[in-house]
Amino acid sequence: MSAFESEGRRPGGVHRRVVLKAAAAAFVAGATNAWAGFAHALAGHGHSPIVNTRGTAMNSRPLMTVRIAAAPPQKLGAVPHGIRSIVLVSGGDFEGPRLRGKVLPGGGDWLLLRSDGVLELDLRITLETDDHALIYMTFQGVRHGPPAAIAALSRGENVDPASYYFRTLPRFETSAEAYAYLNRMVTVGVGEARLAGAVHRIYEVL
C-alpha cells in the first residue's frame, strides 16, 4: 500500500545543532513524564468539531480520543535531518462514539526536531478494540509554539494546548468489517502534551 510517504525531509541545519541539542533535551524532558491517571475518565468528549471560518466546505466530527503511554525516549541526538528521539509506546487507551479499546504496547513515535524548531512526529501503533479488532494507526504531524510554551512543556508543566500548535494526520488500516470505515477516511488530530502523556483528539474530515 502506498503509505503516507509524502513527508518532506529538509537538510539539517548543522550550524544550529548545538542549539537544537539543548532544545531537544528540553523537549525530551517534557515527553518523559510517566503515564499516570490512565484510569481516570477520558477527556475530550463533547469537544467541538472543526469550524470553518469561511463558513463553507470544512466539516468534521469527533472520531476518538487516543491517550498514549510512552516509555522514556531513546535520545539518538543529531542526525542528518535534525535531532532524533524515539519514544516507544507502552500502552494507552482510546474512546470515541463508534470505537473504544486499548493501545497495544510495541509501537512508537519517531520524533525529529527540525532546524526550524518544529518537532515532527511519526507514529505507528496498534489499537485493539473492546471487541478484539486490531487497527493499525499511523500519523505524521508537527508540534511547535512560542518558546515560553515549549519551555514550559519541557519542564513538565501542563500547558494550555491552545498556546501551541500540535496537529497530526492519522491514518488507519483494519481488516475488521465493523471498522472498515477507518480505511476510507481522512482525519486530523489535535494533540495535547500532558503530564500523563500525549492525548490526541482525532476528527474525521467529513
Binding site: 509524502s6 467541538s48 471560518t53 470544512m58 496537529r167 494526520l169 476510507r184 481522512v186 474530515v205
Partner: protein
C-alpha cells in the same frame, strides 16, 4: 479547532499513464503539466513535472499521492505533497470516469497536504497541517486547501 482557507489549487492533468494491476492495487499515474493556485496569502502557478500517483485499492478506494512544485508570483518555489482518498457510490464514480461533471458533495475526495519552502515569507507553510477538499473535473482536479488552525 478551526480552519481557514489557504488556497484554491487547480492542476492540469493530461491523459494518465495506466499501469494496471500491481501488487497493491491498480496503479494510474497522472502527470501534472501545470496549474494555478490562489489564496489570501499566496498565489502563483504550478510547475510542470509533478504528478499524482494514484492507486485503486481492493476496497475500491482510490489513494492519491501527489507531489508538485508551486511557484509563487514573487518567485518562491514551494514543494507540496499530499495524500488522500477518493471514494463514492459506483454510479457517481462511473460518471466521473466518463468525464462528466459531478457535484463534489456526491463523493468523498479529501487529502492531507504538507509543504516545504525555504523562502522566509512562506516559512509558515513548513509549520502547518492542511486538508484539501477535491472536486474532480474533466480537465483536472480543483482543491480547496484549508489550513488547520
Amino acid at each position: 479547532m478551526t480552519s481557514r482557507l489557504l488556497m484554491t489549487l487547480q492542476v492540469v492533468v493530461p491523459p494518465p499513464q495506466r499501469l494496471g494491476g500491481v501488487p497493491h492495487g491498480t496503479r494510474v499515474i497522472a502527470p501534472i503539466t501545470g496549474g494555478t493556485f490562489d489564496g489570501p496569502r499566496l498565489r502563483g502557478k504550478v510547475l510542470a513535472g509533478g504528478g499524482d500517483w494514484t492507486l485503486s485499492r481492493s476496497d475500491s478506494v482510490l489513494e492519491l499521492d501527489l507531489r508538485i512544485t508551486l511557484e509563487t508570483d514573487d518567485g518562491a518555489l514551494i514543494s507540496m505533497s499530499s495524500f488522500g482518498l477518493r471514494h463514492g457510490p459506483p454510479e457517481v464514480l462511473a460518471a466521473l470516469a466518463r468525464g462528466e461533471s459531478v457535484d463534489p458533495s456526491a463523493y468523498y475526495f479529501r487529502t492531507a497536504a504538507r509543504f516545504e519552502a525555504s523562502a522566509q515569507r512562506y516559512g509558515y507553510l513548513n509549520r502547518l497541517i492542511a486538508i484539501a477538499y477535491g472536486d474532480r473535473r474533466a480537465s483536472g482536479p480543483i482543491y480547496t486547501v484549508e489550513e488547520i488552525l
